[in-house]
Symmetry: C2
Amino acid sequence: MNSAVSEPALIGIDWGTSSLRAFLIGTQGEVLDSVSTGEGIMQIPDRNFDAVFDRLVGSFPSNAGLPIVVSGMITSRNGWVETPYVTMPTGPEHLARSLVRHQSQSGALIHFVTGATTEHISGPDVMRGEETQIIGSAALGLSDGVFVMPGTHSKWVHVAGGKIQDFATYMTGEVFASLKDHTILGTLMEVGDFDLPAFQKGVSAAQDRRANLLHDLFHVRTLPLMGKLKETETADFLSGLLIGTEIVAALRKNEAAKRVTIVGRNDLADRYEIALQAVGISCHRAPDDIAAKGHFLIAQAAGLLT
Amino acid sequence: MNSAVSEPALIGIDWGTSSLRAFLIGTQGEVLDSVSTGEGIMQIPDRNFDAVFDRLVGSFPSNAGLPIVVSGMITSRNGWVETPYVTMPTGPEHLARSLVRHQSQSGALIHFVTGATTEHISGPDVMRGEETQIIGSAALGLSDGVFVMPGTHSKWVHVAGGKIQDFATYMTGEVFASLKDHTILGTLMEVGDFDLPAFQKGVSAAQDRRANLLHDLFHVRTLPLMGKLKETETADFLSGLLIGTEIVAALRKNEAAKRVTIVGRNDLADRYEIALQAVGISCHRAPDDIAAKGHFLIAQAAGLLT
């Protein structure tokens, strides 16, 4: 679209638990080049983060002297440098003021985006990396509203006035995997292609006003036992029941939400879209490369871009 | 108490998934002798139920010609003889009419108590063995009311007019084990002695009107991460959160319940008592050997006792 080739202005790295993505970012915040690898923080031999970092930066030939911003679980206790959390509300300026500087063994100056925390009456919540993606997504024409970030631990994020006001984590993905693989519910499951009606049936069960998760889970066993659900349908029924339960609870906390922006473009994001539509919520999808946009906005607010 | 020694009148066997208990029962329904073993249906080599059965019956020297009633998961698909389910409501007479007869290889006539099913709007529910225990418990002066049977899959049973009217299964115990052993929640856990305040804190979180299980579970991680819960407290906090969630949901279905009878005398039953008291419900404990009392009442109703 943009015929003028922008100059490189920034390197951004979104470094998570199981994968990472490095971006070469132009003067307008656009992604000029990117590298993805499976080198999440739990996959680094001998925790040699310096070696991975040097290779990533070296993969962009025009890296000389560019500022470098890094976000994600890389700043957690199991990461490279543990950083504190910022509190709510937070936005690009706040995150820029909270950047943690660290010099790599090769002499590069790294600006770590620190994680974010919020305090609910029921307990604290935390995220690392998602705050940068949401900042990027919110700037890309989506602005205020409710965002959902499907994943092993999904996040619901509330943005208003250009700032993250609050967020909550749901363990849905990890609960699904542990129930499927390590309880009696998995014994009557044959996992095959996505079964839309079975998934919708699970979402519908979650919507019932008498829904009662610890009990309803048992239907994942009794329905096939009684011949009322095929063994090829039970995994998607369980998926719908759990995602539906999450969505009902999250929307109760965000009652004004009429529209939800889904961050992600994988199969899991598709499931959230189906389930949200089933409860009458219209969905938008966040654009790609929002982490890079977040790196750019934070670097800009920090005065790192010349 | 009873100085007159009663004559043997019946052999009853409560044969479950992971253990069994065989009773020699007297003419007044009292237990004269009993044998417990770990030979649940999933632990029988070559599924040779006949060999285990013959040894059990042979362990009571005065077994000659006694009627034999057997209940539990032994009548499930993975058991000895699969039997159909009776529907609600059910009581001793109904269960007596539904006994399934089977001759062992050694020629003994066995009367299997069949399982029970109920249909909720959300799906079917099933039990095998608990119906016999509840029949026995309800006869022992406890009569009508709400019973909870803690376990891997706990059961809540509603009895009125001397009959089981309805019941519901909660997967709480198995969910606890799979979350503890197979998710990130277990990584910040040191399991030690029972920590009452941590358990009560979990129950209290479950009672909050904004309680939201898939989200609240994440606090099992964030609270120790933030130094707000010790690693020795997290397992009991999770236990309290799950048992509390079950109790809040079950009492919503049984709003008139002021008193709950807990079936069981183990550590898990103690946890349910603590959690029920925390929500203002008074508890009673079912007496021992209620399965034998159930076997006796069903045999009596079937005219098997001479």
